[in-house]
Point group: C3
Chain length 403, copies 3
């Protein structure tokens, strides 16, 4: 829906609704029950626009469902998603101030939620992504050969505390960037930021990229939240570990076929000055016992998302707008890492197949189903904290309607 105001103002209102249903079953146990869950997965509205000269633009995106994007260990149900002001320096370069998704997350997080080829993003996103950050972003797009090779560099300097971290800024800033290389030209119709190849690219399109970020002082597992995990030095001053993330990824699309590959590695630098930790109730402890002995660095690492993982997925949309998709995700935790947590993680392999029916030649209305087989490592629990012996099946169903 587009509006044009007096004096050349332009405004655009969009949105979509995604009701969702999930059913889970544990194998290798006498519990044959199905665990159901209903919810409004996403309910988003977006307002965007530009001033008369189109140099200045803004975007405002809200989620009204009350559920968070990464439904996980660190939730954040604030309704504010994107809110930023962008200034286009020239046709190739723009600077953005405000909150938005960051180029230092894996590629799938730069893809719009209503264009996913499966009902959910992969676990790589759950484990490593910060989803949204507040700060200054530089984005460039440069053609480097007459034949149509492009590079897209991006730099982000943010507070490194995730979405809506508007109280105190714990730790220093986060510095990062991404370099994308597109050897065969830009994707059609913003296809780089949409997952399924519904436009059926006529020539092969590929983007290969890498990203790196250095978060100077994180107060949460991976820099998605603010102030949830704090440490002190001898003088009772805050002293926080640093979190480093490195990723390599690609996406390929051609005539209805699309393929996405991502690799991410998270590591930490723990300052030797840390001698105390702050408990949830605000009290302070100098006990850092882990595996039966006092070890500050390992204790701290055990609360962060350290390790690596990759995700590879592909799908094909038939001309009758039915799509068939598959995904394999593998996670490998460091010895001391929250990725070993039995409730949320500790599951090294995820195998998913999905089928989708698009009702028109865009992402506006579709129905999607998927089945995921989860290979749970020994020591995994269900959500209630009870150990599970076998593995898990998860079935998902999601409807999307956009406006």
């Amino acid at each position: 829906l587009n509006f044009s105001g007096e004096k050349g103002y332009k405004m655009r209102l969009e949105g979509f609704i995604q009701p969702y249903m999930e059913t889970k079953r544990y194998t290798g146990t006498d519990d044959s029950e199905l665990y159901n869950r209903f919810r409004m997965r996403r309910l988003r509205m977006q307002l965007s626009g530009s001033l008369a000269d189109e140099k200045l633009s803004y975007r405002l995106r809200l989620d009204l469902s009350g559920t968070s994007e990464a439904d996980l260990d660190e939730a954040n149900s604030n309704i504010l998603l994107d809110a930023y002001i962008r200034y286009s320096i020239d046709d190739n370069l723009s600077v953005t101030f405000g909150q938005k998704s960051t180029p230092t997350d894996n590629r799938e997080l730069n893809i719009n939620s209503q264009t996913l080829q499966l009902p959910e993003r992969s676990r790589i996103t759950s484990v490593f992504s910060t989803i949204r950050e507040f700060g200054v972003f530089l984005d460039g797009t440069y053609r480097i050969t007459p034949g149509g090779m492009y590079v897209r560099p991006a730099v982000a300097i943010t507070n490194g505390d995730g979405q809506n971290a508007f109280k105190k800024d714990y730790g220093g800033l986060k510095y990062g960037g991404r370099l994308d290389f597109l050897p065969f030209g830009l994707f059609s119709n913003f296809g780089q930021f949409r997952e399924a190849d519904i436009v059926r690219e006529r020539t092969p399109k590929l983007v290969v990229g890498m990203n790196y970020s250095y978060n100077d002082g994180v107060s949460s597992r991976r820099g998605r939240n603010s102030g949830s995990i704090l440490y002190l030095n001898d003088r009772n001053e805050e002293e926080l570990p640093d979190f480093i993330k490195l990723g390599v990824d690609f996406m390929f699309k051609y005539q209805g076929f699309s393929m996405l590959g991502e690799y991410v590695k998270g590591s930490a630098k723990v300052s030797k000055d840390i001698t105390q930790r702050v408990r949830n109730d605000g009290s302070v402890s100098s006990g850092f016992e882990i595996d039966g002995q006092q070890h500050v660095a390992n204790y701290i690492k055990n609360r962060m998302m350290l390790g690596e993982g990759y995700n590879i997925q592909a799908g094909y949309i038939f001309t009758n707008l039915i799509s068939v998709d598959a995904r394999y995700t593998h996670l490998r935790a460091d010895k001391y890492s929250f990725m070993n947590n039995g409730t949320f993680y500790n599951r090294p392999n995820y195998y998913t197949i999905g089928v989708s029916k698009y009702l028109s030649r865009n992402y506006g209305a579709k129905i999607q189903a998927s089945f995921t087989y989860v290979d749970a490592a020994p020591g995994s629990n269900d959500n209630a904290g009870n150990p599970i012996d076998g593995n898990e099946w998860v079935g998902r169903l999601i409807l999307t309607i956009g406006f």
Copy 2:
């Protein structure tokens, strides 16, 4: 406000604001003070639309006031009210997936909030309704005689945990339905879902209906909330009571006169396997002492909305758009029922008279006042928990402006 987009999209934005004032006085006491309360009763915005072929439609309704519809023992101030996607199978039958009001609530809850003939809904609604649920809904409308008799069957399978219960789904599902019979044809201008007869039906219109629901495992007083009251069996597994609701109701309208009658009965089935209860702080107790002795079933029933009630109300809109309305509501609690709670309930009779001035021939702008005399049974308290000897007077004033 209607929009039409490219390619046949249609969208509609509506809303209304209701500032409200209430004053309460206790009789038969030396406390002659007036207890005032100001608030934004409702502040709603609704976005609805359909795709080009009108088979698929959606609705999104929000309340931004921060106050809940049933201002009572189980509040829920999430802003999300309705959010659903509907598919019209044919002209007579539709299937809906998402969150909306349920056909298994009493008739007044299927009536739009800005069209009420008195400032508030009756206490039947407060006591028994779940207000909104998430699930799958089937709605039919069939003409059964050429003369214009209609039946409107509806079936709902929901998670049975009330509005925005998007975390864990406690207990099983809720199954229910409603059958409405309209002997004299459909009401004019959606009049079945609007209370006062502002369109002045030219021929008598009547709807008579009954509804039934079986909520397999409730974790709250009546299935309006999720996880607020939990029980366990011997093996520390969740074991929840079932809640059954039965209702009969009618609405009649003719030339400015409207009448509404409702009867609801709530009952419970308590599993004999329940042996423990979960306290608010998460700890577990096997004490179920009530009336001086251990009795599991009675203890549990005493925390649920068990009993019956009826509400009868009528009004007339004069041609100068002034309306006069009256209501009598009667509640009869079971011996063990939360309806005996002295703070919120324990008041068997409510007598209300009201007067409204509509500013135009729709519900868009009006001012409404009412006085309610509440017959409080012995053992009732005021909100601060102090016992009251006599009865209560409540005066209400509400303004409505819609857009």
Copy 3:
């Protein structure tokens, strides 16, 4: 953005986004670190409209940033700002019911947030204002001489508990008013409610006003919140102190120059019947020890905003739309007053200079920076509660884009 519906309805949608960055440095200490803070300062949307005859109008204003207007000791992050219905009795007089800013706050709070000449309002606003209240408001505008002198009287009767106080109404009501006198006629283009003189008034414009309010029973420091500070009498009934506020202020504008002056004094009347206080955890104490001795009135006063303050600021917008502004704010606390609190207040002098660049001849897009030198009295702390020896520098940067 304006809409016109069927039958003469009018509706207007507006909004603005303000990303913000702040950096703080303490002087006279070995801590040379810069304390940064990023946030979405304001993200507002407003819907307003009127019915066909323009007698009835409404306004609805939301803030979606999750941060509060006065980022201080008593925060309130509810998204609902304004919501009211207004009836224009005649061309000179209107009555409003609902929630809005109150005429009994200092002048700068009656000025729209996106038109401020500096990134933040002065500390006078932080200390004394209630920001928004719910109640009934009468507003008049009368021309008293043919030459164009005007008076604007305003009366407000509100619940006196600040924004979104929709639960219990603690204490009695708040009664207050304001009388503004405009000797040289009304400001151009609503300039009385906009700070910088972007329209460059062709003739000098001046408004001089005074305001007074009596808050009968406050349950917070200055009547901005509800129920945060409670006292009891001998019979365990609520007994609350009264808060009185008196202010005098003016604004002058002429050819790009604007000047604002404000004086506010807050005082209290503490009932002798108060004998107990309610702690945060709900328990009751009769200890009112202050300065080493039991003194009920002084103890209570020490938790209220008692004292006086003035703010004087001026600025000039050049014709190239660059503006230079300066402000001096002085606060003087009573001996017993929360204004002596070392974390939030206890800083008597604030000196600010700012520079702004407006991108067009309205307030729709601008970038603003300011530097404030804060003269901290002995006994001041930083936010973490550590004492600071010297003073503070605060740098601020804010962008605004409206639509």
